[in-house]
């Protein structure tokens, strides 16, 4: 079969779609993580906790699919990225999974019994399920920017020289904290829009500016490390964007500061960091103006900007290797075959709009503030 789109274009499209999925995840499930992580701080009584939980109750499950789909899409479109990263981050992945497993059960089981200890236990589970993944996602991105300690043998089998604790380097922790504040801001913005006028909403609104300012500071800090720190990689020699997916056929070297060179080559990319900062400032302005919509959209845009900054800075790298730079995985050397990328693109083009349509409908059906009366009277709430 003749494939109507070139391999090179498909690779860039799939790199973009990966970004769309990650941003979709951070922009929807991000506020679910934020709400769960904020649970002990914004809600003190059982009724308050139930209000907070039920602001995300009907939609978090659908939101979570962005994450699952992200995993599936990496597997299908970037199998080497999937293979290398998940096995390398083995124990971190386990901690992430354990935290993510607690979340659905926490949401579903918490209110099924009156018992106080039962509910307190699930409050902890929900907090863990919100805070730990938010932190780990950022730590993971930080480590990817630094370069991961993997090498590939001739058969493309991946080997790792590094331990769980090496992942907790200062720059990665900075990224982890940024991810926490980003999702915290998003959660607080969501609560201020979806919780009834009362203590939960008020507390969320006192946390929001702290998270917004912290996001701005941490994001700027990350930029400084990128500019003056030792990190960055670059490809040398001829790069064939339509070449076979085999990293060992390309050549890469470490180059400090290289992550910022894309902005010189493609000035439009500067929009991403601008959006990262601008969104956070807009969220602050929204809080000041008492406009919940501005705060929420600002927080979304900031998420969008921050994630795309990480992605665009690294282009065409997806997963650089710190110990064998030639093993680095890029947009050009680690994708699926031409045919698979094409089939997956067609499928996505058909289903993504449908997904967006019924997801918007679901949000519309569940629109409106959650009140104490709702959660204490109706049997349909968590």
């Amino acid at each position: 079969m003749e494939i109507p789109i070139s391999y090179e274009t498909l690779r860039v499209l799939w790199w973009g779609l990966l970004g769309v999925l990650l941003i979709g995840f951070a922009a929807t499930d991000g506020f679910d993580f934020g709400v769960a992580g904020l649970l002990p701080f914004v809600a003190k009584t059982d009724a308050e906790r139930r209000v907070a939980i039920n602001t995300v109750g009907p939609t978090w499950e659908g939101n979570q699919v962005w994450f699952i789909l992200g995993g599936g899409a990496i597997f299908a479109a970037w199998p080497l990225v999937y293979a290398v990263s998940f096995s390398g981050l083995y124990l971190a992945m386990f901690v992430l999974l354990a935290a993510l497993i607690l979340r659905p059960v926490g949401f579903k089981y918490r209110s099924k019994r009156e018992d106080k200890r039962w509910r307190a236990m699930w409050d902890w589970a929900l907090f863990t399920g919100g805070f730990v993944p938010a932190l780990l996602f950022g730590v993971a991105v930080g480590n990817v920017l630094v370069g991961l300690p993997f090498r590939l043998d001739e058969d493309l089998r991946a080997f790792w020289d590094g331990s769980f604790f090496d992942l907790l380097n200062p720059f990665a922790i900075l990224c982890g904290l940024l991810s926490v504040t980003m999702m915290g801001l998003h959660g607080a913005a969501w609560l201020s829009m979806k919780a009834e006028y009362g203590p939960v909403r008020d507390r969320a609104r006192t946390f929001a500016p702290i998270f917004a300012i912290a996001s701005i500071v941490l994001f700027a800090g990350g930029g400084l490390v990128m500019a003056y720190g030792p990190y960055g990689f670059t490809q040398v020699g001829d790069v064939d964007p339509a070449g076979p997916s085999n990293p060992l056929r390309t050549e890469t070297v470490a180059a400090a500061g290289a992550w910022l060179s894309n902005y010189a080559a493609h000035p439009w990319m500067i929009l991403a960091p601008v959006l990262g900062f601008g969104g956070a400032f807009a969220a602050l302005a929204g809080l000041k103006m008492n406009s919940e919509a501005v705060t929420f959209i600002g927080s979304k845009l900031s998420t969008f900007g921050i994630i795309s900054t990480a992605g665009l800075s690294m282009f065409p790298f997806i997963l650089p290797s710190s110990i064998q730079p030639n093993a680095s995985l890029t947009v050009w050397n680690s994708s699926s075959s031409h045919l698979t990328l094409f089939i997956m693109l067609i499928t996505t083009a058909i289903f993504l709009p449908i997904i967006l349509a019924y997801t918007s409908w679901a949000f519309k059906v569940m629109w409106g503030r959650v009140t104490t009366e709702d959660v204490t009277s109706g049997g349909d709430y968590y």
Partner: protein
């Protein structure tokens, strides 16, 4: 060289997490459709008791669904975590159905499950019913795509090894989609899910009736379960036969192993009812054979042979020899891409490359193999015969028993003899059986294709990640603790809900349903609407 301890531990971990996940999946598959049926009756008749049924069974569905989703997340990431080389080797083919599952099915199911629980008062009856149906369809579509992925592991059609990228790549996606093994597995698996859902409802209804509680509610639930379960159990056996037929063409070794058939029998082959497979002496003691039956099931004819284990080993031996040549050609191609002779040799032998890789269990370079080692590798293609033999017999036995059980339930419901006490006890005690059968089914499918992770293409031990045993022990311990705790919590919560019954805190069955239907509630004497 691969560390076999890492390979074994990875297999244990996968088996643990997959079989645990599969405790929740069949119930989700079956209950989702039963909820849709119950709610349809509610919308058509407007009778409150049917809404109560949808909500009560829906609450149990929700408790189960939460763990199904939680444990499903593990499954998706486990390929990359523990089976990293496998993920690289086949991601081009295997990843696509998984991603499409997310796009087409899981998104639908997960988005609508929220509306199913929270949307009762926020949309019209019809819209809510549509949500429930689409949720059920989404659940079943999920199974379809997962089984297309799994079916390809059993019968890797539509793909080829590409020496430039050192992996399998798709050449014919339609072949992957319409893989006969995948289709047979899908229908067999979802039907097994329907039986599980039906027995769950039947057994709990039986328990209510034994206690003489919620009788109107329980009788209606029992009727739905009986009809749905009979349909499901008949399908599961008929479609299981289809699965067997698919094996004849694609996994001859698995078929021969589950029959413990050592030599090729002259056509038509007999079906061994029971016996004791003896692996050491390659024979089956005290076998009770039913003539012709296996030939009929497996080939749908009286004149085609079903091959035995030992003749299949002989074929494997030739393929291992061929595989060594494929491996040799691959190494030469790697040194010089333009080596025409090597390319020709590779093209001739590439479909046997996997058989050559079997030797990497014993040596790094298969070209160093001695004739004895080649023979050993060929014998390695035999799965665990006694386990296959007995798993199949227990699974099939439970399948046939389910037809009997649901047949009886259906007759009793039709005769309005819902409260036949001996049957209620039987139904209650049969509750674990569909789960036992489902787990045995997985054992047959997955353990039965060993030593292959991709049948004939990639040996299981090569698929693992470069981890050390300690790391895997840590996660096995972690998953065991976490899953164990959650299992206890889930069962306790289910029992708590069942004990409270459908009308907890709502003033009892009469309190709510008398408003709409006074005659049918207490005593259960009123006629039950036709289903």
């Amino acid at each position: 060289m691969i560390d076999m301890e890492v390979a074994d531990l990875s297999r244990w971990q996968f088996a643990l997490t997959a079989m645990y996940h599969f405790l929740f999946v069949p119930l989700t598959l079956g209950l989702a459709f039963m909820l849709a049926i119950m709610e349809s009756v509610y919308v058509m008749t407007g009778r409150q008791v049917w809404k109560d049924m949808t909500k009560f069974w829906g609450a149990l569905f929700g408790i189960n669904f939460a763990l199904g989703v939680s444990t499903g997340i593990t499954m998706e990431f486990q390929f990359g975590m523990n089976w990293s080389y496998y993920s690289h080797y086949v991601g081009d083919v295997f990843g696509a159905p998984l991603a499409i599952e997310g796009l087409m099915a899981f998104f639908l199911e997960a988005t609508l499950v929220g509306l199913f629980f929270f949307g009762w008062d926020r949309m019209s009856k019809q819209a809510h019913l549509a949500v429930t149906w689409f949720m059920a369809i989404g659940t079943n579509l999920s199974a379809l795509w997962i089984l297309i992925a799994n079916g390809w592991m059993q019968n890797p059609v539509g793909s080829e090894f590409n020496p430039e990228t050192m992996r399998m790549e798709v050449v014919d996606f339609m072949a992957v989609l319409f893989n006969p093994v995948a289709q047979a597995k899908f229908v067999h698996t979802v039907a097994a899910g329907y039986v599980t859902g039906a027995l769950f409802v039947l057994a709990i209804s039986a328990w209510f009736l034994l206690q003489r509680r919620h009788r109107g509610f329980a009788k209606r639930s029992m009727t739905v379960a009986a009809a749905f379960g009979l349909m499901g159990s008949l399908s599961v056996v008929v479609l299981g036969d289809e699965s067997g037929y698919a094996l004849t063409h694609n996994q001859r070794m698995k078929l021969a192993a589950l029959e413990a058939m050592w030599e090729t029998h002259e056509a038509p082959a007999p079906l061994t009812l029971v016996g004791f497979p003896d692996v050491e002496n390659q024979t089956t003691h005290f076998a009770v054979d039913v003539p012709w039956v296996l030939g009929l099931i497996a080939t749908r004819s009286l004149d085609q042979e079903v091959q035995g284990i030992l003749p299949l080993v002989a074929i494997a031996e030739t393929r291992v020899e061929n595989g060594i040549r494929a491996y040799d050609a691959l190494q030469r191609l790697r040194a010089d891409e333009n080596d025409i002779e090597a390319r020709t040799q590779f093209e001739e032998t590439k479909f046997d490359l996997g058989y050559g890789l079997l030797l990497q269990r014993y040596m790094a370079d298969p070209r160093d193999a001695t004739p004895d080692q080649i023979r050993q590798a060929a014998f390695d293609t035999i799965p665990d015969v006694p386990v296959m033999f007995w798993s199949f017999r227990f699974m099939a036995g439970i399948g046939l028993y389910m037809i009997l059980l649901f047949g009886t339930a259906f007759v009793l419901c039709t005769l309005r003899k819902h409260e036949t006490r001996w049957f209620l006890w039987v139904a209650l005690f049969s509750l674990p059986l569909p789960w036992v059968a489902a787990e045995l089914g997985w054992l047959l499918a997955e353990y039965g294709r060993q030593p292959w992770i991709i049948e004939g293409m990639l040996p299981t031990f090569l698929g693992v990640s470069s981890l050390n045993a300690t790391q895997i022990w840590m996660t096995i311990a972690g998953f065991t603790a976490l899953y164990g705790a959650l299992a206890v919590v889930e069962v306790m919560l289910m029992l708590h809900f069942i004990r409270k019954g459908p009308y907890a805190g709502k003033g009892g069955e009469s309190g709510k349903s008398t408003k709409t239907r006074p005659a049918a509630t207490e005593g259960g004497m009123a006629p039950i609407p036709a289903e």
